[in-house]
C-alpha cells in the first residue's frame, strides 16, 4: 500500500510549475491523470502524524503556485489516500463532476476579504449615540464589580446589538461595491459581533487589478473604523463542490 497525498485536482492538460515542493520526504510533487482530469500528488511522511506547520504551509504553497496560472480544485487538509484509490475511487467515478467544477472556476482566482471594527472608535460611536447605553455605562462605573454584574451583561448586550446593526449596514455596503467586480461571492459565517466582512470572491484574472484597487478604496473609506485584510490570489477554496 502506498500512501499518497492529494493537494488538488486539475484538468489533465495543465502544466505544473517546475519547483513545487511537496510535504513528503522526497519533496517531489507530480500528477496522476485519468482521461481528462488529474490529481496533484506527492508522497507522505509515514513516521509521524500529518499536521505540522510545515505540512500545512507546504499544502498551501503547492496550491498557491498552481492557482497562479491554472484552475485547480483544492483539497481540504489532510487528503491522504491509497495510491490505487486516486484513479479508481477519486478520478474515474467523479470525472464529470470535477471537470464541471473546473470549468466553472476556469480563469478565476479567489480573494478573501475580512474586515473588523476598530474597537474603541466604534464603541465610542455607539455609546455617544445611544442614551440608554450611556446611562447604563454610568451606572456600571459607579457600582462595585460584583454589584454591577447583571448591568454589565445588559450593557454588553446593548452594545453588541448596536454593533451588529452597524456591521450589517457597513458589511452590505462593502459587498455591494465589490460584487460587480466578481464572478461569484461566498459569504462566510461571522461569529464575532465586530466582524464586518468575511467573504470570498471569485475574480477573473484580468480583473484582479481592478478588484484590488476597489478594495484599496474601501480600505481608505473606512480607515480608522474598519481594519481590512485581503488574502489572495488563492485557489478557490470557498467555491468547491460539496460532494
Amino acid at each position: 500500500m502506498t500512501a499518497t497525498y492529494v493537494y488538488g485536482l486539475v484538468s489533465a492538460d495543465t502544466e505544473l510549475p517546475a519547483d513545487l515542493d511537496g510535504l513528503g520526504p522526497s519533496g517531489r510533487v507530480s500528477t496522476i491523470a485519468h482521461e481528462r482530469v488529474a490529481a496533484i500528488v506527492s508522497d507522505v511522511p509515514i513516521d509521524r502524524p500529518l499536521g505540522t506547520r510545515d505540512d500545512l504551509l507546504a499544502h498551501e504553497r503547492v496550491l498557491d503556485a498552481i492557482a497562479e496560472r491554472a484552475a485547480v480544485l483544492p483539497m481540504r487538509f489532510p487528503a491522504v489516500v491509497e495510491e490505487k484509490g486516486v484513479v479508481q475511487e477519486l478520478l474515474a467515478p467523479h470525472q464529470d463532476r470535477f471537470l464541471e467544477a473546473l470549468a466553472r472556476i476556469e480563469g478565476l482566482v479567489q480573494f478573501t476579504l475580512k474586515g473588523r471594527y476598530e474597537q474603541d472608535p466604534v464603541l465610542r460611536e455607539i455609546t455617544e449615540s445611544d442614551e440608554e447605553i450611556q446611562l447604563l455605562r454610568e451606572r456600571v462605573r459607579e457600582l462595585p464589580e460584583d454589584a454591577s454584574y447583571y448591568d454589565r451583561i445588559r450593557l454588553g448586550e446593548l452594545v453588541v446589538d448596536a454593533m451588529t446593526q452597524r456591521r450589517e449596514v457597513d458589511g452590505r455596503n462593502v459587498l455591494e461595491r465589490l460584487r460587480p467586480l466578481a464572478s461569484d461571492v461566498s459569504i462566510r459565517t461571522m461569529a464575532a459581533p465586530d466582524e464586518v466582512v468575511n467573504a470570498a470572491f471569485l475574480v477573473a484574472r484580468d480583473r484582479v487589478k481592478q478588484f484590488d484597487d476597489a478594495v484599496e478604496d474601501i480600505g481608505l473609506d473606512f480607515v480608522g473604523r474598519v481594519r481590512f485584510r485581503l488574502v489572495g490570489p488563492l485557489a478557490p477554496y470557498d467555491f468547491t463542490p460539496e460532494g
Binding site: P49, G51, T52, R53, L56, A191
Partner: protein, 76 residues
C-alpha cells in the same frame, strides 16, 4: 473572569460534591483550551509577535506547532 461566568451560566444541577464541580471546571477549561476559534486567535498573536520582532522565528515556530497540535487533538 471567563471561568466564573462560564460556571454561572451552567444549567442548575444537583451538586454531587466537589468532584462534579471539579469536572465541570476541567471541562470548561478544556473547551477553552481546544476551542478552534481561540487557537486561531492565538495563531494571529504569534504572527503579530513575529512581525513586531517580539519573539525569534524559532520561538514562533515552536508556538505555532504547539497550537496546531492542540488544534488537531481529537476530543472524544
Amino acid at each position: 473572569m471567563g471561568l466564573i461566568t462560564g460556571l454561572l451560566t451552567l444549567p442548575l444541577a444537583p451538586v454531587r460534591g466537589v468532584v462534579w464541580l471539579a469536572e465541570q471546571i476541567q471541562e470548561y477549561a478544556e473547551d477553552q483550551y481546544y476551542d478552534p476559534a481561540n487557537i486561531r486567535a492565538e495563531l494571529e498573536r504569534v504572527d503579530e509577535a513575529r512581525q513586531l520582532g517580539e519573539l525569534t522565528e524559532d520561538e514562533c515556530v515552536a508556538w505555532e506547532d504547539e497550537l496546531l497540535r492542540r488544534l488537531m487533538h481529537r476530543r472524544e
